[in-house]
């Protein structure tokens, strides 16, 4: 263990030694799991990427592994190897190469003093006449200093390190407190000085920094989840690949940007879209309102489920919530709700008409984007209500638990399909219309029709006698909806890969 050799030299009292049992938790035995193999059990789909989930333990083990490896090659202590690796962002090859080339420069850049005593810090009694230049106390019982011989009283040192760790979140480069001195306070020294709670925080920060330093790692953004995901795809491919990953905790997110799953839209498009929506939010706000007027009798209609097939209570007019067109035209081969008919250039002659047209175009897509989000929420609300009813039914009848579970699966699929659909509208907004975009729009429409049909099915009142029938219908529709989603994702992933479409923004 790295600190053993250092522990011996110090003139210190053991009561100041926090880690006096010599246990050194940072450097666990190297572990084979360090970089778990990327599994490929089933054949990969075009929209899937390879990744693996790394637990906090895996992450610690991977660091220990790399540190031991480099310490062995360069003949350095674990601590110094760790410091060097951090300053090289864990690029072992580059570190070893540069170190062989000129170790002096490398050490200097990393603020490391290497000397034959193998000592890193002094913790002990002050010399006569010492005054701490931080608190001006001239009678401290204990002082601390690194090899640069800048001594400060123990309390000030502890206060200083605590400030850096807790307030500034610093861990990679905490320098000697002396002004202008650039020697790093190494880990064994930190261990000797700070309180256990602070040391724990310091180690957390180091793990955090490790994951942040590596391009192939990203923390799972789910609250309270301690896992990271390892994805080896170069970031340069993220303009054509949407790297959706799923953590062991169940959270699905984008490895490229950390947002929730936004397939099929690439990260750059998502960023642009979000910015646009934030900028135009005021004009767009009215759209996501819950109520609309019936296109025929003008009575107010409130939406209370996710389904977009609306029927006016008063006049029984059936229409689509999204485009307000008659429902009779939907769900057929000429369903046209997803497609925005570009205003022909002759119609948009002057600037005002043009800007109006561009706003209308944006609203067309934003409307649908926002609606799916809203509908997903309503679907879920409806499900929560239904679930209670199902539980009730299960308790009072001979239905088994499994038999009443089919709704849950259906709502989960419905939600993820709506999320996908939502991003297809952002995607379509930036798509330059040509004959290559038609297939995309067809896929979008097919998924949308399937989703709305399933959503409508879920709004049906549940009757005890018809439950078996309903169950079969829901199961069939769920499978179908899922397959439509797969078709769409598969095709967009391929299309992005082969540069099939032109987008209205510059792709980086």
């Amino acid at each position: 263990m790295s600190s053993d050799s250092e522990d011996n030299f110090m003139e210190e009292d053991s009561d100041y030694e926090f880690d006096s049992d010599g246990s050194d938790m940072d450097y666990e035995e190297p572990n084979d799991l360090a970089f778990a193999e990327v599994s490929d059990k089933k054949p990969k789909k075009a929209y899937e990427v390879d990744f693996s989930v790394q637990s906090l333990q895996d992450i610690k083990a991977a660091q220990a592994n790399a540190i031991s490896h480099v310490a062995g090659i360069l003949g350095l202590s674990q601590d110094k190897a760790a410091q060097l690796l951090r300053s090289f962002k864990w690029n072992k090859e580059r570190l070893v190469e540069r170190y062989m080339d000129s170790s002096e420069d490398v050490l200097k850049e990393a603020c490391i003093v290497l000397d034959d005593t193998k000592t890193t810090s002094y913790v002990g009694k002050p010399r006569p006449g010492f005054t701490c230049s931080i608190c001006f106390d001239d009678t401290p019982s204990k002082v601390v200093g690194l090899r640069c011989s800048h001594l400060f009283c123990f309390d000030c040192y502890r206060h200083y390190l605590t400030q850096k760790i807790v307030e500034e979140g610093e861990c990679r480069r905490i320098l000697c407190p002396e002004s202008g001195c650039s020697i790093i306070v190494d880990q064994p020294t930190v261990q000797k000085i700070v309180e256990p709670k602070i040391l724990e925080r310091f180690r957390q920060l180091l793990d955090r920094a490790y994951v942040e330093d590596l391009d192939n790692l990203r923390w799972c953004p789910a609250p309270n989840c301690e896992n990271a995901v390892d994805c080896r795809l170069p970031h340069s491919t993220f303009d054509t690949v949407v790297p959706t990953v799923q953590c062991a905790c169940g959270n699905k997110f984008c490895f490229g940007c950390g947002l929730g799953d936004h397939q099929p839209a690439p990260c750059q498009l998502v960023k642009l879209w979000q910015k646009k929506c934030a900028d135009d939010s005021e004009t767009a706000n009215w759209i996501s309102a819950h109520t609309k007027e019936c296109g025929k009798c003008q009575s107010t209609i409130e939406k209370n489920g996710g389904c977009n097939h609306m029927t006016c209570r008063k006049c029984k007019y059936e229409f689509c919530w999204v485009c307000m067109g008659p429902w009779s035209e939907h769900g057929t081969s000429w369903y046209n709700c997803n497609r925005y008919e570009e205003v022909s250039s002759t119609d948009a002659r002057d600037a005002q008409a043009k800007s109006r047209a561009s706003l209308e175009r944006y609203l067309h897509y934003y409307n649908r984007f926002a609606n799916h989000e809203q509908s997903a929420k309503l679907d879920r609300d409806l499900y929560n209500k239904t679930e209670k009813k199902m539980e009730e039914m299960q308790r009072t009848s001979d239905l088994s638990w499994i038999e009443v579970q089919f709704l849950k699966k259906a709502v989960d699929v419905l939600t993820s399909c709506r999320m996908t659909l939502r991003w297809t509208y952002a995607f379509a907004f930036y798509l330059v219309k040509d004959n290559m975009t038609e297939l995309f729009e067809d896929n979008q429409r097919d998924l949308e029709v399937a989703v709305e049909a399933l959503s409508e099915l879920l709004e049906k009142p549940i009757e005890r006698e018809k439950i078996a029938e309903l169950r079969q219908q829901v199961l069939d529709k769920t499978v179908y909806v899922d397959s439509r989603r797969e078709v769409l994702l598969e095709d967009t992933a391929k299309g992005l890969g082969e540069d099939r479409w032109e987008f209205s923004f510059k792709r980086t």
Partner: protein
């Protein structure tokens, strides 16, 4: 607390051995708040000017740097309209071993050698880079008008 001992000692020393061209007086009712006066250094565009500043020692001082701000209007590439100062030791280069005295000396030195390559006031820095003589004239004029 040990830190107030430091503040008292620093204040004592500032009074007993003042730095030439600089005065710092602690408020009677708030020992962490100082009225500072810096005389414009000779052979600088600020020569002859009397610049008033405020200096505040935050709770965490000296683990965090003092807060220093010009109250007198000054035409300087590293000092903005609000009097905020772009000085490394007041930010990431701060060390708890530095003192009020060293901070004020650094501010004084900044007046002697403006650094338009690390600007805080962009328009002033631009002016300084494009036409140094003209910028210096403006700085002199401001010194005459405001730093009395």
């Amino acid at each position: 607390m040990a830190m107030s001992k430091r503040i008292l000692k620093e204040t004592e020393r500032l009074n007993a051995e003042p730095v030439p061209g600089i005065s710092a007086t602690a408020h009677e009712d708030n020992l962490r708040y100082f009225d500072v006066i810096i005389a414009g250094p000779s052979q600088s565009p600020f020569e002859g000017g009397v610049f008033r500043l405020e200096l505040f020692l935050p709770e965490e001082y000296p683990m965090t740097p003092p807060k220093v701000r010009f109250l007198t209007k000054i035409y300087h590439p590293n000092i903005d309209k609000l009097g905020r100062i772009c000085l490394d030791i007041l930010k990431d280069k701060w060390s708890p071993a530095l003192q009020i005295r060293t901070v004020l000396l650094s501010v004084q030195a900044l007046l002697s050698s403006p650094n338009p390559d690390d600007p805080l006031a962009n328009d002033v820095a631009q002016h300084w880079k494009e036409n140094e003589n003209d910028a210096i004239e403006t700085a002199k004029l401001w010194t005459k008008n405001y730093a009395k």
